[in-house]
């Protein structure tokens, strides 16, 4: 495992890393040394296409954004599993097909659940949440 040949194959990577560090640090250093310095009234303000910013950035977002984002991520990732099955569908045969059917059935059941629980409604009406 620890042969020099193994490591010598890595030299382009090391050279690339060193070059990146050199380039970035030289750019930062040069602009620090050669650049001008201003300290005006609006220097510290964020640049928004020339428009003066108003209000605070610390807004409270509705929790529904997180809810929808979370559901999207979950279903998105689950779709990736179906792609993984699709690329090897011939090798997996009927067993794989049954497994994917079970998987999709679980997805449908959970989608059904979310829909009935009202997790997909943007405006929550009290009566849509069945509390048994």
């Amino acid at each position: 495992m620890n042969t020099p040949a193994k490591y010598s194959a890595l030299w382009p990577l090391a050279a690339y890393f060193i070059m990146v560090v050199l380039l970035v640090s030289s750019m930062l250093l040069l602009s620090y040394l050669l650049g001008q310095r201003h300290r005006e009234r609006v220097t510290g303000e964020p640049y928004e296409s020339g428009i003066a910013p108003t209000g605070s950035a610390r807004l409270r977002f509705d929790v529904k954004y997180y809810m929808v984002a979370m559901l999207f991520v979950i279903f998105d990732l689950e779709a990736v599993f179906i792609y993984a099955w699709a690329v090897s569908v011939r090798e997996l045969g009927w067993t794989g097909y049954i497994e994917v059917l079970v998987f999709i059935f679980i997805l449908i059941a959970s989608l059904c659940y979310l829909w009935r629980m009202g997790a997909l409604d943007w405006v929550t009406s009290k009566k849509s949440v069945p509390k048994s």
């Binding site: 679980i106 059904c112 048994s132």
Partner: protein, 473 residues
């Protein structure tokens, strides 16, 4: 890569029942969900019948093993499912929201435990463990109107996450030093290459992570608060099924995968076992709340089971399997009596059980049989189980541990007999008889009969478990 889906049919039936309940819940009006318990019990019985037709072998590309031990433990989990669902039906009126989900989550967690009993690879083991844990985190905090329940759920979640971290870290070291994740592949790797320091580190971390599931030292702290605060059916599930699931994976990891380096883990497990025995039994003595007392007694029981693990022999493995059977009957019979008593009196304090024998002789007798079986009183099932554990420990030369175990068994008699004294000898605060309906009577009779029968005539069952325990080695 052989899939062999036919071997996973019992798990599919359990999961299918859980999904069925989840979907039915969405489309019916609010109200009682008692019939969910009936559907769940029927599903569990169907799972049990499908287990009878299972043959041994592996499935899912080597991640899943169906051997005699797995089938035995799955049968125990199905038994737990039936009894816990029945306890839930008795308890249901106390759950205000999402009653149907409570039933389906119980079935999901049982399905996870069944997968856990069959996992033969660190990957499938960890995924099944988290499957069980996520269901139990939700269940422990289910009746979230109650402050104690929220506290219980939070403590369970945080300690569970910490223990999972230990476990995964340990597994990564085991993988790093053996280059394999399959249990039998790890065992093969250990035959050719001796264990390194990293392997021992990984092994210790994995054992520490697993102590969370079985509520032994060092991860025992959650159990009294969670047992007391969680809804009683969840406490029953944690006490009986979750502990069994923890021990089946401990046996698979230590006996099957790491059996080659028994010298490395034997002392470690023995020390944990001794500390757990002493702590659990001494801390149980001053308890006033029966669920909390059972929690500390459960920590003590984990100590006994770890003693059999430390023995690391076929006798020890068989003793664990028999102990779990008697423990399930003893503890679930007691919990059914506790739920019925709580429905009538609204209290779990040992003091409120005073004079129960004059108010409901059957409830009093069930608690008497169940708790004394857990304590290991002679004519009951728990006694035979403890006897086998001591025999296994002595046979492997763990004399000190066996002596601690015997002394602590006497201590556990003391605190369980205090409960019995309250039930039988103290005058009742209130003389009104407690009504027990017909089905509950039948269930309690069956459970009590099983506990007594296993103590009187254990021969066939113990011969059988000693025989099937061989497949682990």
């Amino acid at each position: 890569m052989e899939m062999n889906l036919i071997k996973v049919v019992p798990e599919f039936i359990m999961l299918g029942t859980a999904f069925l309940l989840l979907v039915i819940e969405l489309f019916i009006a609010r109200g009682s969900r008692k019939f969910f318990g009936v559907i769940g019990i029927l599903g569990a019985i169907a799972t049990g019948i499908s287990l009878l037709y299972q043959e041994t072998g592996s499935a899912l590309g080597g991640l899943f093993i169906q051997d005699q031990v797995a089938i035995y433990f799955k049968a125990l989990f199905v038994l737990c499912a039936v009894l816990v669902l029945y306890i839930t039906m008795m308890y249901e009126d106390k759950i205000k929201h999402w009653k149907g989900e409570f039933y389906s989550l119980i079935l999901f967690s049982i399905a996870g435990m069944m997968l856990l009993a069959s996992s033969s690879d660190f990957i499938s083991f960890y995924v099944s463990l988290e499957f069980v844990a996520v269901c139990l985190y939700v269940l422990a905090a289910f009746t979230s109107e109650n402050r104690n329940t929220i506290e219980a759920g939070l403590k369970y979640l945080i300690t569970g996450a910490l223990a999972s971290g230990f476990l995964v870290y340990g597994i990564s070291f085991i993988y790093g030093s053996t280059g394999a994740t399959g249990f039998s592949a790890v065992a093969t790797a250990l035959k050719t290459a001796p264990g390194s320091g990293f392997l021992v580190l990984g092994l210790s971390l994995a054992i520490i992570g697993l102590t969370f599931k079985i509520s032994s030292i060092p991860f025992h702290v959650w159990s009294p608060d969670v047992y007391q605060g969680a809804p009683t059916p969840v406490t029953a599930l944690l006490a009986a099924a979750s502990k069994g699931a923890g021990f089946v994976v401990i046996m698979r990891i230590l006996f099957t995968a790491l059996g080659g380096i028994k010298a490395e883990w034997m002392v470690f497990v023995a020390v944990i076992s001794g500390a757990t025995l002493i702590f659990g039994n001494l801390a149980a003595m001053p308890q006033k709340d029966l669920k909390r007392l059972i929690a500390y007694a459960g920590i003590g029981s984990a100590g006994y089971l770890l003693m059999a693990v430390a023995a690391g022999s076929t006798l020890g493995a068989g003793a664990i399997m028999f102990y779990m059977l008697t423990y399930i009957f003893g503890i679930l019979g007691s919990f059914l009596a506790i739920v019925i008593f709580h429905n009538s009196e609204g209290s779990d304090l040992i003091d409120s059980y005073a004079g129960l024998s004059r108010r409901s002789p059957l409830l009093a007798f069930s608690l008497f049989v169940g708790l004394l079986s857990v304590a290991g009183f002679p004519p009951l099932g728990g006694f035979i189980a403890k006897l086998y554990i001591f025999a296994a420990a002595v046979k492997e030369g763990l004399w000190v541990l066996a002596v601690i175990g015997v002394v602590m068994a006497i201590v556990s008699m003391y605190y369980f007999l205090l409960v019995v004294k309250s039930i039988y000898l103290r005058p009742p605060h209130n003389t009104a008889p407690i009504h027990v309906d017909f089905t509950s009577r039948a269930v309690l009779y069956v459970v009590n009969f099983a506990t007594i029968f296993l103590g009187m005539y254990p021969g066939p069952v113990t011969d059988w478990v000693m025989d099937i325990a061989k497949v682990l080695f």
